[in-house]
Amino acid sequence: MGALADLSDVINRLTGGNSGAPEAIPFFKDAAVGAVAAVTVAGRLSSLWQYNGIPSGGSAPGAVATPDNTTTGGLKQTNPAGGAQKWLMGVAAHISQPGTLVLYDRLLHISGLSGTSLVAQTVGGTISRYNNTNTCVGNEIWIEIYTQIGASSQTITASYTNQAGTAGQTTQAAAIGNTGLREIQRIIPLPLASGDTGVEAVASVTLSGSTGTAGDFGVTVAHPLLTVATGIGGCGQVRDAISGLPSVPEILTNACLAFAFFAAGSTAPQVMGIANFIEKG
């Protein structure tokens, strides 16, 4: 495997030379989940995992699982050829509402957790990408809500293994429940313990108290890759990884590429975009 050498290398591979295997994936996300219109909350992160779309939206995962590039809900990009690396050149998108689109690798997910249970609720599973001391830096723990939980304000923490392989670390408490933090598709990122920079595994999550409604929430371990921001809804935007910094992110074999949206308002976005990839062995 070798790094992309220069712009000549990039343009040659983008146009199919040198086994570049260029892949341009158009994607579409509608502002609905099934027959229900989606809603965002200003200043909060929303998951587009279940949004209707092309490729189609995903579903609540149920038992813990490690999604990959065949999982419904992801972009379903092809894997790089044996011995090659896949690189993301950029994402161009029309985002109908102001905010920031986040492209991430969905490493692990689980649902079926209860907004009324006060015991440590097991997460478990095994992360298969960005899963060691050198690579798990940047992994984030997200609470993801699949069925609305209760109106009682509580906090939540996670017990996890950090980038040094130290188990039993506890995230800082994050607010959960009540308006803005109980709705479906809401993502609540959990700040790591002081000094930590990554996550190798998540053992469990614990509520400080009952939110009042069991609902259904889960844990997603995410590795953010790239953001596309728009201050004016409906004005096309481009995140060019070729000329911008940080430069082209690697897309690991089996990556489950998915989107979240940091909303500036309460109207859910419709997103139409294209993601461009090349390979180099």
Partner: protein
């Protein structure tokens, strides 16, 4: 297959054609419209297709494209979108270049049974696997003011027939001529090879005329500001958007608006686009 070999060749652009199109919009986009097809907008307007037909570079309405013995790639985009009637009704937007693969019209905004007029869609002549091929409902004559939903019955990329899309809004704010409504797929799917029927949830109140368009997005180009012209390079600045232009491609534009302020407006007009298409090798 002949790729662009290096940056020097890319910059020298020895074998190229420039595709130009100028559109004066006359169909009101309407507040609430997300996407507006320029297919039937003058100059060089296409028309409502009627019977199902495959589209190619000779279809009236397509950007003028010459085939090449080698492979061709769109490398530069110059876009300008003028203030409609000298008054700005939107702030900016997005221009999406698409390959129009197959289309039909003659569907009725008041019929509530599964509509098969001029369906199924004609066979794909390009992107025949269906992966990345999207279906949209395209309005050729205003539908009614009552908002309804529509689903399509289609064949996916496997190919498996009898798939049912998610419902999309039609009529109401999505009723004006030119409205272009992408249709999200059934869970698990990532493309469309054919559409068999369209079903409305109820009458929109006006028959009008609408149809199904199968298309493949090729590039998404920002329109940062109405009234100004912008030049974008596919390699530097557009995130590696150097789409291959297939032989006989039927290139057309779909535009999205930012900040539409009026219920009856052209959005922006005129729309002028130049694409430099370069031959590889």
């Amino acid at each position: 297959m002949a790729a662009i070999p290096d940056l020097s060749a890319y910059k020298s652009v020895k074998r190229f054609q420039t595709l130009r199109i100028a559109k004066v919009l006359s169909n009101n986009a309407g507040q609430g419209t997300v996407w507006h097809s320029l297919w039937t907008e003058g100059h060089d307007a296409g028309s409502a297709p009627g019977a199902a037909a495959a589209c190619d570079r000779n279809t009236a309405g397509a950007m003028p494209l010459f085939n090449s013995s080698g492979e061709q790639f769109a490398i530069n985009f110059t876009i300008s979108a003028g203030a409609a009637n000298g008054t700005q009704f939107c702030t900016g937007g997005t221009a999406m270049l698409c390959d129009r693969l197959s289309h039909q019209s003659g569907l009725d905004g008041t019929v509530t049974t599964a509509q098969t007029t001029n369906l199924p869609t004609a066979a794909l002549g390009r992107y025949t696997s269906g992966v990345g091929v999207m279906a949209a409902l395209e309005i050729y004559s205003n539908l009614g003011a009552t908002g309804r939903t529509a689903t399509i019955s289609y064949t996916n990329e496997t190919p498996t027939s009898g798939r049912t899309s998610q419902a999309v809004a039609i009529g109401g704010s999505q009723k004006n001529t030119g409205t272009f409504i992408p249709v999200p797929l059934q869970t698990g799917d990532k493309g469309v090879t054919a559409v068999a029927s369209v079903t409305l949830s109820a009458s929109t109140g006006t028959g009008g005329n609408f149809g199904v368009t199968l298309f493949r997005p090729l590039a998404i180009v920002p329109i940062p500001q109405i009234g100004l012209g912008f030049h974008f390079d596919g390699l530097i600045g557009l995130g590696g958007q150097v789409p291959k232009i297939l032989t006989d491609a039927c290139l057309f534009w779909v535009v999205g608006f930012a900040g539409l302020t009026s219920a009856t407006t052209d959005g922006f007009s005129p729309f002028v686009a130049n694409i430099r298409v370069m031959e590889g090798g």
